[in-house]
């Protein structure tokens, strides 16, 4: 490690006494994480199996600098530091001590190991639990779809766990702060009833949603010092980065560990706290100063262009309506403001500019980000189609299609239905036709229709091609028809043997037939990826829902199929996107959490109120379900306004911190609904323009 490459303050952090707690704060790009990774190597030199290193970040994307550091060839040999999150730690803890804690925590099923629910499976169970309540007319006046309704109930549960109050206090807290129509209070009560019923269900069935996972971890770790000591015994060194994006429960844990772990480096980003709607609590993070013997503040920002810095400073002043008389003329170089009439004009203009940057100015696509508050499918579709036509690689961080919508999913499930007539799930002629077009090479719509019409019989049964009249067979072609029969023959054989769960069935059908030469999935890498996800998702479902399916006397495969048809599953989750050289298309918040600056940003439709206003959440509240909230107060419109203003200011600051050269701002006169619009972000830019009217040289 060449210590000379660091400034004196960084060197001080790197070389500070090992067995001490350090608090380090500073703005983005002030070299905090560089100093931390250099100190990490220094700690790794001292570490051994009894003195290991623990690195905590609020989410995976924020740990990448550390992941990269471990791979560097000068990283000392030895135990690999553990890099994890609160969620990761709590799962590891519960898995390890399950046999001890399950009884004390009220679990009743006595399973050998815990089952953790992801967002989708939690929603599935929540739906099951809520059905009787919905039948009684609960939430009748709440006009949001069921998926959002359930996710908000789960959100209240998560907040209770992350902040640390009993679940029963949720409705009283929300009610005490509510200032509007009385009906809302009834919904808070109903939401709490559902949450408590859901909790009971989880305890009865040994399943843990995120809130229960955190609550058990928190209670066990905070209340039982011997368990805490046992679990954290291997760790002598701890680095926690972006603590302002983490939750009070994590901060409580660090406070508790301060005596047990001799060496801590706690890092806080100034002006951040972007994850506040997920419970991030910068004031709570500030409590950690008290356990640190040394505080460092980095102020100098590296590789920040002075025009961008000037623009950022002026814009944040304008948004907050603070005086800023001396705006530097540099600020005018940092942005381009584009006024367009309609959305398609904006899409074209952005894509043309991206094309110019990539193909004429030779800007790597990875240095460009296209950002908006949300990313509706229609917008994403228009952008990606246009970029594709310009041969510009892109990566959209929001998957737009669920696995259920993929044609290959439909194709294999058609044959799964045929193979399992006892499910009594119908096959339609359209789905069979689409399936044939995917699975039989060269099968066009006419042949597929003919084959489908002639082989689909009553009771979801498929007849062999060989049973079709000769004349039709010739029109379909024998080559195609015989392949169809190979699939049916294989299924006939399968039906004569012991049946297997749906995931295994699909895996066999794929491996033994559909991916063999002569079939549509032979060497089809893209569809293989989708099928891998589908099969993994079904397998997870089977392992999670086995006992529920047994209780209801249906097999888990059938339960999966029914759930899929109701549109609740499966998770179309994508593992981390690789760091490719592609244009990023993402919601602004997602981009911030990647923590990776780019040279050029495009902000879509800055008149959209979504840049400022938080999502309508009738059953939960990020500022009231928060440790900093005074329970004797009511949440007022003025507070809502102030909260939105501060959040916009943070967002703008955060985005411009991560923009190295130029930002293109788009104003669309008429939004997608044809309405003239305005937003505080647009007002902010208008004030900025007014204030800079006298400043010359703006291109």
């Amino acid at each position: 490690m060449n210590i000379q490459q660091y400034n004196s303050l960084q060197q001080e952090v790197i070389e500070s006494e090992i067995n001490t707690h350090l608090f380090l704060e500073g703005p983005f790009k002030s070299g905090k994480t560089s100093a931390a990774t250099a100190r990490l190597k220094h700690l790794a030199d001292q570490s051994n199996p009894e003195h290991q290193i623990l690195i905590l970040t609020p989410q995976h994307t924020l740990s990448q600098a550390y992941q990269r550091c471990l791979l560097e060839s000068d990283f000392p040999s030895g135990v690999i530091p553990t890099i994890t999150t609160l969620a990761g730690l709590s799962r590891q803890f519960i898995r390890l001590f399950w046999s001890m804690i399950s009884e004390n925590s009220g679990f009743q099923a006595r399973s050998a190991s815990p089952t953790f629910l992801n967002m989708e499976s939690a929603q599935f169970f929540m739906e099951q639990v809520c059905q009787p309540f919905l039948a009684k007319g609960y939430f009748l006046e709440v006009h949001i779809n069921q998926a959002r309704l359930f996710s908000q109930i789960l959100d209240t549960m998560n907040k209770a766990a992350l902040i640390g109050y009993p679940l029963e206090e949720t409705a009283p807290r929300l009610t005490a702060a509510w200032n509007g129509e009385a009906i809302r209070v009834k919904h808070y009560q109903q939401s709490q009833e559902c949450a408590l019923a859901f909790r009971k269900f989880c305890l009865q069935n040994d399943v843990l949603d995120f809130s229960l996972q955190i609550e058990i971890f928190r209670n066990a770790i905070l209340a039982n010092s011997s368990l805490r000591q046992q679990f954290f015994k291997p760790y002598h060194y701890l680095i926690a980065d972006n603590i302002e994006e983490d939750v009070p429960c994590l901060h409580d844990l660090l406070l508790e560990l301060s005596d047990q772990i001799p060496s801590m480096l706690l890092i806080k980003d100034l002006h951040a706290g972007f994850r506040s709607f997920l419970g991030a609590d910068p004031p709570s993070a500030d409590r950690l100063r008290s356990i640190c013997s040394q505080n460092f503040t980095f102020t100098e920002q590296f590789r920040v262009s002075s025009p961008m810095h000037a623009f950022q400073s002026a814009m944040t002043h304008c948004i907050m309506r603070k005086n800023s008389t001396d705006i530097s003329p540099d600020a005018l170089q940092a942005y381009t403001l584009q006024n367009v009439q309609f959305y398609p004009e904006m899409i074209n203009s952005i894509c043309d500019m991206v094309d110019h940057l990539v193909h004429e100015e030779q800007v790597p696509p990875g240095e460009i980000a296209i950002l908006s508050p949300y990313l509706p499918d229609s917008l994403k579709f228009s952008l990606t189609t246009r970029l594709q036509s310009l041969s510009i690689p892109y990566l959209s961080t929001r998957p737009s299609r669920t696995l259920a919508e993929e044609s290959v999913t439909n194709a294999v499930l058609v044959f799964a239905k045929h193979a399992h007539p006892q499910w009594e799930i119908p096959i339609t002629s359209e789905e069979l036709r689409s399936a044939l077009m995917v699975l039989l090479p060269g099968c066009d719509i006419i042949r597929a229709s003919l084959l489908a019409q002639n082989t689909l019989k009553a009771n979801h049964h498929l007849e062999h091609f060989s049973t079709i009249p000769e004349f039709t067979r010739t029109r379909i072609t024998y080559a195609m028809g015989n392949q169809f029969d190979v699939i049916l023959d294989w299924i006939d054989q399968y039906q004569q043997s012991t049946q297997v769960p749906l995931d295994v069935f699909l895996s066999l059908l794929f491996g033994e037939v559909l991916s063999q030469p002569g079939f549509g999935l032979h060497n089809d890498i893209d569809n293989a990826v989708l099928l891998t996800r589908l099969i993994a998702s079904i397998r997870d479902f089977r392992l999670t829902f086995q006992s529920l399916a047994e209780q209801q006397h249906i097999d888990s495969s059938q339960l999966f199929m029914e759930t899929l048809q109701r549109g609740l599953l499966p998770a179309s989750f994508y593992r981390d996107e690789p760091d490719l050289d592609t244009v990023t298309i993402a919601p602004a918040f997602t981009f911030l959490m990647k923590n990776k600056p780019v040279r050029y940003q495009f902000w879509l439709d800055i008149g959209d109120i979504g840049w400022w206003e938080r999502l309508d959440q009738p059953l939960t509240h990020p500022y009231v379900l928060n440790r900093n909230w005074d329970p004797s107060k009511r949440w007022t419109d003025a507070q809502e306004y102030q909260a939105n203003q501060s959040s916009l200011e943070r967002l703008v600051r955060g985005l411009l911190d991560r923009c190295e050269e130029h930002v293109y701002l788009y104003v669309v006169r008429l939004n997608q609904a044809g309405i003239n619009q305005s937003s505080p972000l647009l007002s902010g830019i208008q004030l900025f323009l007014k204030r800079t009217m006298g400043v010359k040289n703006h291109a």
Binding site: Q46, E50, S73, L96, D155, S515
Partner: protein
């Protein structure tokens, strides 16, 4: 091999390479997901892996000082219970001053990271280290010693440990002669396979590993050859992709050499679980 800055070599990946270069290319370079079955009978294979994982979990809990009676409560399967009791009897005969279970270690060879995950590493009073690896098998007989001699795991595990300094940057590496690798079989508790290490072995292994890694990193994409012996393909998910057959081989057959204690090294390392809501 194209530059892959986030790639780590491991016993598993190098074993894949020596068994079939093409499998290495498909699995680690192309990261090709191919959802075919690895072995039959499918559910028994899954259950066997689950048993292996449960056994590992119990042993891990033991080394986190959970009482054996508490651990035992979670074991319903008679076979795993028998393994567990064998383990308790075996571990009672061992003495050591320090232990760490399920821990990942890393070193670099020729500038490339190489990782090893030890089921158990213990330090004895005399300063010697023993690496234990628990091996379960679906077959009636214990695998022969010869099956382990050339295994990448047998080469990499002691080598990685020999490169560690454990908090003494100025001190020499751990003496190779102080390291022993033991494969211990819960189904055959009296028949462990022991591999002592030595300086000569370390020198030889280092050269072999450096050469092998060099060979891989300079190999152009497309030059990763398919294995000649097609028997291996019966236990490989890429069978249909390579045009090497339809049906998976039986996990009970003599040529099955399956990893029963499945662990995704990347997931172990990037142990960062996300919560979306």
């Amino acid at each position: 091999m194209p530059a892959m800055p986030d790639f780590r070599f491991s016993a598993q990946s190098l074993q894949d390479y020596v068994e079939c270069q093409r499998r290495f290319e498909l699995r680690y370079i192309q990261k090709l997901d191919w959802p075919a079955e690895e072995s039959s009978p499918y559910l028994e294979f899954e259950q066997f892996r689950q048993k292996g994982n449960l056994f590992h979990q119990c042993v891990n809990q033991y080394f986190h000082h959970l009482a054996p009676q508490v651990i035992e409560k979670q074991i319903e399967d008679q076979e795993v219970l028998c393994w567990w009791q064998n383990f308790l009897a075996f571990i009672a005969t061992q003495s050591f001053t320090f232990s760490t279970a399920e821990t990942l270690f890393q070193t670099h060879i020729g500038g490339y990271p190489v990782v090893a995950k030890y089921d158990l590493l213990v330090l004895q009073k005399d300063g010697n280290y023993t690496i234990f690896d628990w091996k379960t098998t679906a077959r009636e007989q214990k695998p022969k010693r010869s099956a382990f001699i050339q295994k990448m795991q047998t080469i990499i595990y002691p080598y990685v440990l020999s490169q560690c300094r454990f908090g003494h940057p100025d001190r020499n590496d751990i003496e190779p002669v102080s390291i022993t690798l033991i494969y211990w079989f819960p189904q055959f508790p009296e028949q462990p396979e022991t591999f002592p290490y030595s300086t000569a072995q370390q020198v030889q292994d280092e050269k072999m590993l450096a050469d092998l890694i060099h060979e891989i990193v300079i190999k152009p994409t497309g030059d990763f050859a398919l294995v000649e012996d097609e028997k291996r393909c019966r236990f490989c998910v890429y069978r249909s992709y390579c045009g090497r057959g339809e049906k998976a081989g039986s996990m009970y057959s003599a040529d099955a050499n399956l990893d029963m204690e499945f662990s995704d090294m990347d997931l172990d390392i990037e142990n960062v679980e996300e919560i979306r809501y």
